[in-house]
């Protein structure tokens, strides 16, 4: 157990070393969601909510959830790069606890997501976003966001181990956009054609976005459907399902590296 903790901490430290060595890509990753809020708020805020100012309280919590989805790419890209460059094999040739590589990835990526949430929160404040809830609710909201990230992390680990190379990562980087738009991150599904709205409501991203809007005391979607009215439950169930499915799949994929 201590070797697992030691190995994961050292490997998480490796990622922190990457940030120090190459701060620009890291900062760009942090600021990208802020750019999305500025763009969406500035361009569509008026059309969607009447004014950019009225759109900010709705869109900021949504983009906080979207930031967690972007993290999926980070995880997958890191896992794929190490596998294709032989770094994973080098780790596997060392007397390390077999869980260290993935656990180190988890720690580093959760730390990156905490930084991403902090950056987005500060930017949100600068744009006039506020929560009207007690500290317990606010903490719960951030907890739900990180829980989603934790679930997506295992999707990313699995996809990274299965990916043949950078092309697969690029495909996922494209696919996060339809997933992001087909949710309640930017829009109320009530404004969508009903079948599309149903897809958006069942999107795990929507569950978390709806739940944190409620916890922060920000305006939410109109609701009326089962998934829209059970955002908080779903925001816990979805990530747990992701871990339950993809953690064993990832472990199996990792073991299969020796086939």
């Amino acid at each position: 157990m201590s070797s697992l903790v030691h190995g994961s901490l050292v490997l998480a430290g490796r990622t922190f070393g990457h940030w120090r060595a190459q701060p620009v890509p890291f900062v760009v990753t942090l600021l990208f969601p802020v750019l999305i809020v500025l763009m969406m708020g500035g361009l569509f805020g008026g059309a969607i909510a009447g004014s950019a100012g009225d759109y900010v309280p709705f869109v900021v919590p949504g983009v906080l959830a979207l930031t967690m989805l972007f993290g999926l790419e980070t995880t997958m890209a890191a896992i794929t790069a190490d596998a294709s460059r032989g770094v994973t094999d080098r780790f596997r040739s060392l007397p390390l606890h077999s869980g260290s590589v993935v656990a180190g990835r988890c720690l580093a990526d959760l730390a990156a997501s905490v930084a991403g949430l902090a950056a987005m929160t500060l930017a949100g404040f600068a744009l006039g976003w506020r929560w009207s809830a007690g500290p317990g609710e606010v903490l719960a909201a951030y907890g739900l966001l990180l829980l989603l990230r934790f679930g997506l992390l295992w999707v990313g680990v699995w996809a990274g181990l299965k990916a043949s190379g950078p092309e697969a990562v690029a495909a996922v980087q494209i696919m996060v956009w339809p997933v992001g738009f087909l949710s309640t991150v930017f829009l109320d599904p009530a404004t969508m054609p009903s079948w599309l709205g149903a897809v958006a409501e069942w999107n795990p991203l929507s569950a978390t976005a709806d739940a944190v809007r409620e916890l922060f005391g920000n305006p939410g979607v109109a609701g009326g459907s089962w998934p829209a009215d059970h955002g908080q439950e779903l925001s816990v169930i979805w990530p747990i399902l992701m871990v339950a499915v993809f953690a064993p799949l990832s472990a199996a994929a990792y073991r299969r590296l020796n086939r």
């Binding site: 030691h6 490997l11 490796r14 990457h18 060595a21 460059r85 032989g86 094999d89 020796n258 086939r259």
Partner: protein
């Protein structure tokens, strides 16, 4: 002597592959020696290394490395070995020194010890000037040296080196050779795979030639060359008639059929010493060669022989 590496009847068939990558692979490497696993692309060299370093599971057979069973004591194997894979597997974003500190920490060294060891290796491998630079900016030779250094952070008792000089320029290649020789002086057992006969000749105490997933011939470089080939005296003359006359005059030194072709004659002899008698016989017959050379068989000939012979019997 104790075997540092022992493989018996190892078999590995990749899913979907037409033929097994290893098919009855046997190998024994004595402790403190260098063994070169020689073979063409696809002969099974890398598969053998991956199995013995626990990266790959074998289908059948048995193998021990430094006394640890590869199948049942993977962690014991991993504690005893160093691996330098085919593509320099180091972190491209971190600097050379940071890489060595990372691998030291992963091998359980404390922070200060890992740093001290990294500094020592950086200067020993001539990387001091580039220690803080991202490895992505290193030349191929520097990466190789760093890769070797990374596998030595905790001195291994068995070092696996998979095609260490593929793609390197001659200077960098000699560098790597010098490093491997130094390791052997320190008592490390080295298994290296290579496609270069020169490299095997240069470094190895023992050469195992791999073809179609099994060792088809092995021995010291000298044993292998004497096994196959014969030493030949080759001479060239000004005119074809002289060459024919020389073939007749030198006949009694020949241990096989004399070949005359154009102005050249080739006489298989028992050893290189026969060249004196051959020249005396030429002088006695009043023949003056333009050029005389003794040609010993090289590992190259052995390699060609192994590959053509087994090709003929398939």
């Amino acid at each position: 002597m104790d075997a540092a590496i022992e493989a018996r009847a190892v078999r590995k068939h990749y899913r979907g592959a037409e033929r097994p990558a290893l098919d009855g692979f046997d190998l024994r490497v004595a402790a403190g020696t260098v063994c070169a696993l020689l073979g063409r692309n696809g002969a099974g060299k890398t598969t053998a290394v991956r199995i013995m370093t626990t990266l790959l599971a074998m289908d059948d057979g048995a193998a021990t490395v430094a006394g640890h069973d590869v199948r049942t004591d993977g962690d014991g194997v991993r504690r005893a070995i160093g691996l330098v894979g085919q593509n320099a597997a180091v972190d491209e974003i971190l600097g050379g020194r940071a890489n060595l500190v990372l691998f030291g920490r992963l091998r359980g060294l404390a922070k200060a010890a890992a740093r001290a060891r990294a500094d020592e290796l950086i200067s020993r491998f001539g990387l001091s000037d580039a220690a803080g630079r991202a490895v992505g900016t290193y030349s191929g030779g520097m990466r190789r040296r760093l890769d070797l250094a990374a596998s030595l952070v905790v001195p291994p008792s068995v070092l696996f080196v998979d095609e260490p000089t593929t793609g390197l320029d001659p200077d960098a290649r000699r560098d790597v050779w010098a490093t491997v020789r130094r390791l052997v002086d320190d008592g490390v057992t080295v298994l290296l795979t290579t496609q270069y006969l020169e490299e095997a000749d240069e470094l190895a105490d023992h050469v195992a030639m791999l073809r179609d997933g099994r060792v088809v011939l092995e021995g010291s470089p000298a044993e292998l060359t004497s096994l196959i080939g014969e030493t030949r005296v080759e001479a060239r003359f000004g005119a074809p008639d002289d060459a024919a006359a020389a073939g007749r005059a030198a006949g009694r030194y020949a241990v096989g059929p004399v070949e005359v072709s154009g102005v050249g004659v080739a006489v298989p002899v028992a050893d290189a010493g026969a060249v004196t008698g051959f020249c005396a016989a030429l002088a006695g017959a009043g023949l003056a060669p333009v050029d005389v050379a003794v040609r010993r068989p090289t590992l190259d000939d052995v390699f060609m022989h192994v590959n053509t012979v087994s090709e003929g019997t398939r």
